[in-house]
Amino acid sequence: MSEPNAEKIQITLNVNGAERSVAVEPRWLLSDVLRQEFGLTGVHIGCEHGVCGACTILVDGVPVRSCLQFAVQAEGARIETVEALGTPEAMDPVQTAFWEKHGLQCGYCTPGMVLTAKALLDRVPNPTEAEIRHALSGNLCRCTGYQFIVEAVERAAELRAEG
């Protein structure tokens, strides 16, 4: 994605717990830098205009669209992508819940769903169904019809409470 003579700016940010430094063109979107410079392909790119929520990441603990900010703006930020959550052997409770409740089919929206759900549960440990639907309203899923996703978040709240 590099232009031959484009000026680059060095940024340092915390990505999934590690300090990382990278030179970026100002026009590079944070979503692209996370995928292409850091290999974090769990950042799924959908609409690139903020509507679908597939590229949702946490910046300083808050869910945002990574396609609607430039990487240069993330200087000093703490970024979490779905790769920060768990491993296949030791999944995060939110991931376990999505698996148990079949909260996904094709999986494209899943990283954004999981991260938004995690941010919600970090603030409201035991949300109502309405609160879950409100929080997830900015993440589109074209497979599930949302029902199982909502159930997965309810289950995740239980799993987190159990510790």
Partner: protein, 290 residues
Amino acid sequence: MKPVAFRYHAPDTVQAAVGLLEEAGFEGKVLAGGQSLVPMMNFRLARPGILVDIRKVRGLSGVRFESGYIVVGALTTHEDIFLHEELAHRLPVMRAAAALIGHWGIRVRGTIGGSVAHADPAAEWPAVMMALSASALVSGPAGEREVSMEELVAGPLTTTLEPADVVTALKIPAPTAGERTGIYEVARRPGDFALVGAVAKTKGDSVRLTWFGLGTVPQARESDSFGSLSEKAQAEQLSRWGEELEAESDLHASATWRKRVAAVVARRALSAAASDDAGLEAGERSGLHV
């Protein structure tokens, strides 16, 4: 689907931002929350050569209560406004309106100053600010000035701001005793831009309605005696106003539909104004506010 190359500046004072914009001329653009500008850049509908990111400018965020005025900094996000307890207490329509904007991930970045400067005909803040007789505080090459909302919004996505102008705050007259404001809108899904929305301000029998989402700019109608009319006469007045309004047709709704719904939405905005939360719970709020 990627922006063209641009030069990036992130000044930390308003003066520096104005200076950079002045140098940039028509190439320059302010970047605030990026929730409207970046989508347009991704689609290359906007191709600024120089971006002046004002997020690091100090003092542009937050709410101040001054004598007779409430001043909301331009960089205050929709979410900040939603969460502000004292603001919600003094002017509940601010919380009710913030709840209708986009989704969680949009509200935590998008700003009131950006929304007003963007002047989307379906956006909540330009209409709410107009309804409240607010003005924008603007810093430019010639110094600071105050611009009324009517003067600021010139058309769809068009304002009278000059290229080197920065909106620093919205200045809202503090509500006087007995004044109530509420908001209601219809959207296809929670968080979508409104198909039709209205802000109602009432005091005694007088009513002022400001609609958004119908035409190219917010449109207002007022009556000093509305409250004294019979229910039937009120309904007729609202329908007449709906008929009169300028309305556009698009993929989602025809102009005729919008004009009819304008009367219904106005009625509900009036109920919202009468309620303690300015329509928050009755509205299709789009997100969780935590």
